[in-house]
């Protein structure tokens, strides 16, 4: 108990059964921060899959990027609608099971394989090979996984529910790449996360020459390379106009002095 309270005090995730014993605190749960998580290794924890098989997280990320969501089946709050929205986004983007794997992991030790099957069935995902439902095989594994993702959850005795954020993380070969926090991931955002997880370059503004900007320095064509654009004149204008203003000013002063 003392150890659990100490863990809670320093912001570590609280174990499942123990969490329900832990006293409620007023401290707000911390939301994971993508910048702090980037590149962090996620532990290869043992899992118990919804179909009853045992395995490890690395079995899932060995071949393709993994999108990992943390939920619990008895959630009366965000978990179920969150999974529904995530399923819709994945359906729109496509490629689950081939290009990437969706992995839903329960952080509630009460969740048994049959609970996870029911959760998958509720969303029509029980036979979708792009989706895997599982729970850590041990509380130590769960603790290690949650700690590695800075994922905090806390038992609310009054509501008989866990407080927790809704997150999905993108992993590439066991390392953190991107994070989505909140109720919905747009298809565009999901594609960005996927591209990042596949090691592709994701630009945050247009490449040189890409349409959209009113003025551009250069245009780029893979065959012709870089060519100056009219926007380049904006770089000539300050010098030319400063010289012109100075010349006009000196001429005006001469005229006035006569």
């Amino acid at each position: 108990m003392i150890a659990m309270m100490a863990a809670a005090a320093i912001g570590l995730p609280i174990g499942v059964a123990d969490a329900r014993e832990a006293a409620n605190t007023d401290r707000a749960l911390k939301t994971p921060d993508e910048t702090r998580l980037f590149g962090r290794e996620v532990p290869d924890v043992p899992l118990r899959f919804a179909d009853g098989r045992d395995g490890r997280l690395s079995d899932l990320w060995a071949d393709r990027p993994v999108f990992l969501s943390l939920v619990f089946s008895r959630c009366a709050g965000i978990c179920s609608p969150y999974l529904g929205l995530l399923r819709d986004t994945v359906d729109q983007v496509g490629g689950a099971g081939d290009q990437y794997q969706m992995v839903v992991i329960s952080f509630d030790a009460r969740d048994r394989p049959e609970d996870l099957v029911a959760l998958a069935q509720h969303h029509g995902l029980e036979n979708d090979r792009g989706w895997t439902f599982a729970a850590p095989a041990s509380s130590e594994g769960l603790m290690a996984l949650c700690q590695s993702l800075d994922f905090e959850f806390r038992w609310d005795e009054q509501r008989q529910q866990f407080d927790h954020p809704a997150i999905t993380v993108a992993l590439r070969r066991g390392k953190f790449v991107r994070l989505s926090v909140g109720g919905e991931i747009s298809p565009g955002r999901f594609k960005d996360m996927l591209a990042d997880a596949r090691g592709e370059f994701v630009s945050i503004y247009p490449a040189p020459g890409e349409r959209g900007a009113l003025f551009r320095c250069f245009d780029y064509d893979p065959e012709r390379g870089f060519t100056p654009n009219w926007g380049m004149l904006l770089l000539v204008f300050p010098g030319a106009s400063a010289l012109a203003v100075a010349a006009l000013m000196f001429m005006a002063a001469r005229v006035r002095s006569r």
Partner: protein
């Protein structure tokens, strides 16, 4: 107008007692922002190095970048207005200026600085003094939108009032000299013309270049406004970076050139010899005007999308703009002081040391502007090393010397030799120690713009800690200087 440059001192213009009094009062008023802001911005810098040294976890990463923004932009802005105030004080004997332009600059600067402090210290705007696109307007929730608008508006206010100020000084020169004469072309061609002080030449060159930078800033702010108001969806990042450094590089260099101009004008008073204009001085400073506008390309060596030809132009012009002006100026100072009956005072020592610092920092800058070296040094602390050298122990000393000169002259209080020597020793000794830590860190590939150092670059931590000792010496020296200058300023204000 005389037929040939006679070699005699150009005649001073007559001012009424009331005009003289009003101009002197405003010069003295400009000392107030210096007294308040210089130590404040030094403390900001100390905060940054303290955070990097791990000696005290006093700021978060977000705060670190807000303070970096204010420290950088604040220092550049402070020294621009300080050097312009000193230039206006000195140039009044040659040309007539409008008081309203100087007052507009003074009041506008105060408004701009308050807005910048609000944006960074309250709104936590933290895109750095260079506020590179797209971070500058896409903060990802780190700072509020209002602070972005306030920051950009502050730059707009400062840009407008500084443009008015620059134009007024140029107009004053234009009323006395033709453009070819102000640029000393008759010294190059050997044709007849009036005697033109090198100070006038340097100010003319600098202010035309300054106009270029300010127009560039206007275009950049207009593009920001188009995007922020939804007229355009996005801006070209490379174009924005070019515009930013066309403005920023020019602003920083103009401060140095105007500082050098003050040395050309004031140091002869202490040497007892005139510093005359001549062919090579004219050639060097006209080259500056021609090349400074395109030398900024060396800030974009890391931008692969910039054409290779442009990068080469950046390297060639960096050398072309730095060497002539520096060689002519350094040779001029050495020739002026060699076997002269020098009066070594706070002003003359600061100006002499300032030229030396300009030279040292300039060499660091030239190394950094060489593509082969830049590819190694660009993202390291070598960059802050060289610009802190030519600022802190370079042009800042020149400007401080000029300001002390004005306050000493107007107050009539003679210099306290022991205190002035101590202040100079503290600023120079501390300053060189401080920049040495940056140079060593740069040589060790310690990255710049990092709030905290990873253990693999932990050398940055103890170098930052050591730098703190030296900055403390600088701060002590600056406070002593400000005490000496400030009390003369108060007495002078009562007298005039």
């Amino acid at each position: 107008m005389s037929d040939v440059p006679s070699g005699e001192a150009p005649s001073a213009i007559a001012m009424s007692a009331a005009e003289e009094r009003a101009a002197n009062r405003l010069t003295l008023l400009w000392v107030i922002p210096l007294v308040v802001l210089f130590p404040t911005f030094i403390l900001f810098g100390m905060t940054l190095r303290t955070a990097q040294s791990n000696l005290a976890p006093i700021v978060s990463a977000e705060w670190f970048y807000s303070i970096v923004t204010m420290h950088g932009l604040g220092m550049v802005g402070l020294w621009f207005v300080a050097v312009m105030a000193a230039v206006c004080d000195v140039i009044r004997k040659y040309v007539r200026l409008h008081m309203w332009a100087n007052w507009t600059a003074f009041l506008g600067t105060i408004v701009g600085v308050v807005m910048l402090l609000t944006a960074t210290m309250i709104g936590r705007y933290g895109a750095g003094w260079y506020f590179l696109y797209p971070l500058s307007i896409h903060p990802a929730g780190v700072w509020a939108d209002w602070s972005t608008y306030t920051f950009l508006l502050a730059n707009g206010v400062l840009g407008v009032v500084w443009t008015i100020w620059s134009l007024d000084v140029l107009w004053g020169i234009a009323r006395r000299y033709s453009l070819p004469n102000a640029l000393s072309w008759h010294y190059i061609t050997g044709e007849p013309g009036p005697e033109v002080p090198p100070f006038i030449l340097i100010v003319t060159v600098s202010l035309i270049a300054n106009l270029t930078g300010l127009i560039s800033a206007v275009i950049m702010l207009a593009l920001y406004a188009l995007e922020l108001t939804g007229v355009t969806d996005v801006s070209d990042a490379l174009l924005m970076k070019n515009l930013l450094f066309l403005f920023g590089h020019l602003l920083v260099n103009i401060i140095m050139y105007l500082g050098a101009g003050l040395v050309y004008e004031l140091l002869p008073e202490y040497a007892g010899r005139p510093w005359k204009n001549g062919r090579w001085t004219a050639v060097a400073w006209n080259l500056v005007l021609l090349l400074i506008i395109i030398a900024y390309f060396h800030h974009l060596y890391m931008d692969f999308a910039q054409l290779n030809l442009v990068q080469l132009i950046g390297q060639v012009t960096s050398y072309g703009v730095a060497i002539p002006s520096a060689v002519v100026s350094i040779y001029g100072v050495l020739a002026l002081t060699w076997r002269a009956r020098m009066r070594w005072t706070m002003t003359s020592i600061m100006m002499y040391c300032g030229m030396a610092g300009w030279c040292v920092g300039g060499i660091g800058a030239l190394i950094d502007s060489t593509i082969a070296f830049n590819s190694k040094f660009h993202n390291t602390l070598w960059v802050p090393a060289h610009f802190h050298t030519y600022f802190l122990v370079g042009v800042v000393l020149m400007i401080l010397g000029a300001i002390f000169h004005a306050c000493e002259k107007l107050s009539g209080i003679p210099e306290n030799v022991s205190r002035s020597r101590l202040a100079i020793w503290l600023i120079c000794g501390g300053g060189y120690g401080f920049v040495l830590m940056f140079y060593l860190a740069g040589a060790m590939s310690i990255p710049r713009r990092y709030a905290l150092y990873h253990e693999v670059i932990s050398a940055g931590t103890y170098l930052a800690g050591t730098a703190l000792v030296f900055i403390s010496l600088v701060l002590a020296g600056v406070l002593l200087y400000l005490w000496e200058t400030g009390r003369r300023c108060v007495v002078a204000f009562k007298k005039v």
